[in-house]
């Protein structure tokens, strides 16, 4: 079998993640400390797990409606209204296999060959490969440290062409921790208002903001009709392994996304849907206690990094911090490899999130305070040795 000719041309263009090699290096050592994981360290709250277990005990082991259980979609509407002031009805909600599937669906549902998809960078790594697989053309928009890694109206305007179909709006942002305020979003909305560009607003970290509540662009005048919101249970309720996400969008869009979902997935996992129902009904206080814990760690790590002389933008969302290491004369890849080999500390190079992440590190604070303090000690030692 000649495997070289086996794969589709599009798949052949997709490169593996830039952090693959670090797995192999880390495997050489048994004392590696990590601040690199992009998922919560908390266990799923017990009452939520119990609801999943009870659903199995009651034999709820069949498919649900393609778009998700009606009661879960109704509770999702209440949740989006209660937490973010958003108004959707249950037929404008689709329950997906994680936020990831919702992103994939939205892009595949909208993009024609040659359509351009604007992707602010640095950002999560999935938007461009999915766009390529859909035949679209990803167009990166560089966001900058001096703008607090926000998407600016000027940068957006410059990137728009007659082929622009979709804008990805990945805030609160992985890896920078940047957020967009209502004022920032107003400026973006003004640019988009007279176009036919849709917005895919990836709000998976919406519950994890510090200082002010997350504002969805769907809440900005005139934007509801052109926004697809991606949200989910992974980050807010620490439910990554349950694989359950939410898409909320105008009815015609959700209808078409549900069509694609129906053929690819059938329905999201039933056990997870029952657990999610419990999360939405009785989980607000879990979100709050986890958020407060992240916030304390965020302050601890921010002051720790600044104390060792690193230039660091204050992140107000997600659970990442993105210090600038360009002053050390190493690429972020070299920095991370040496940090791993010499101090056994694993963090992710900013360049893994697009070339504009070069010169930065992504450090996750989804770790215990003890772990963070140990890691800060190792980083301080490493920097001292440079």
């Amino acid at each position: 079998m000649n495997y070289d000719n086996l794969f589709s041309d599009k798949v052949k263009t997709i490169k593996p993640s830039g952090i693959r090699k670090f797995f192999d290096i880390a495997a050489e050592f048994d004392d590696v400390l990590s601040l690199s994981i992009g998922e919560p360290d908390f266990q799923t709250p017990w009452h939520i797990r119990e609801a999943g277990i009870e659903s199995l005990e009651h034999g709820r082991t069949k498919y649900t409606a393609n778009s998700g259980m009606r009661e879960l979609r109704e509770q999702t509407c209440h949740y989006l209204h209660r937490r973010f002031g958003l108004d959707y009805s249950d037929d404008e909600i689709l329950i997906t296999v994680g936020g990831s599937e919702a992103i994939d669906l939205a892009i595949r549902t909208l993009v024609n060959p040659g359509d351009e998809v604007l992707v602010p960078e640095p950002s999560f790594v999935c938007y461009s490969p999915i766009t390529v697989l859909a035949g679209g053309v990803p167009v990166p928009i560089v966001t900058k440290k001096e703008d607090d890694f926000k998407l600016t109206a000027a940068a957006l305007k410059k990137a728009i062409t007659p082929r622009t179909k979709l804008l990805i709006l990945p805030y609160p942002n992985n890896p920078t921790g940047a957020v967009m305020t209502r004022r920032d979003l107003n400026a973006i909305a003004k640019v988009l208002k007279d176009t036919n560009i849709m917005v895919l607003s990836d709000e998976i970290y919406a519950e994890l903001t510090y200082g002010s509540r997350h504002v969805s662009i769907a809440n900005i005048d005139g934007m509801h009709e052109r926004t697809i919101i991606i949200n989910g249970f992974s980050k807010a309720f620490s439910m990554t392994g349950w694989r359950l996400g939410i898409a909320a969008a105008p009815r015609p869009v959700i209808k078409k996304m549900t069509l694609v979902h129906q053929y690819g997935i059938m329905s999201a996992p039933t056990t997870s849907q029952y657990a999610a129902l419990e999360a939405l009904k009785n989980g607000d206080s879990d979100i709050e206690s986890m958020r407060q814990e992240y916030d304390s760690r965020r302050k601890l790590i921010l002051s720790g990094l600044r104390d060792m002389g690193l230039s660091c933008f204050e992140p107000f969302g997600a659970f990442y911090i993105f210090p600038d290491i360009s002053a050390f004369g190493l690429t972020s890849d070299e920095f991370c490899e040496r940090l791993l080999r010499e101090q056994r500390l694993a963090v992710v190079p900013g360049s893994a999130f697009g070339s504009s992440g070069e010169g930065f590190l992504r450090i996750s604070y989804a770790y215990s305070v003890e772990n963070i303090e140990l890691a800060l000690g190792r980083l301080r030692k490493f920097i001292g040795s440079l």
């Binding site: 993640s17 797995f23 690199s36 994981i37 992009g38 999560f124 790594v125 304390s296 992710v348």
Partner: protein
Amino acid sequence: MNEKKLLAALEKDAYADRSMLASQLRCSVQEINAQIKKLEEQKVIVGYNAMVDWDKTNRDYITAMIELKISPIRGEGFDKVARRISKYPQVKSVNLMSGAYDILLSIEGRTLTEVALFVSQKLAPMDGVLSTATHFVLKKYKDKGISYDVSEEDMRGLYNI
């Protein structure tokens, strides 16, 4: 500062990092320390313990929960007997209960015999004690919010995006 939040955090972990507490409660480390000192003086915080799993050591050790029925004394209720029982160092907790019996106490000893002797020689003959029922603890799973059994480890790998 929110005193209840401070107490809840310390009840969960008396060793909680003071600068983390300060950031959670939006105040300075000095204020945290002063507040803790005040709460200790007021006996709102009555003490601190290490939670020891003696089963993991080679120490001979047994715990019993003992129910007591008491005849209350006029003017003093159950206090006199309860306080007297509390004096014994081997008695680890004493609670006045609603329901079928009056006092539930826990006691630690080195052997079954030692506990049995304490019950028969000290507790049962005590003035006001009508009856005792002794239950030996076979295994401790959780105490004061902390699991002694299996903990849930961090199953995450070293890297992901």
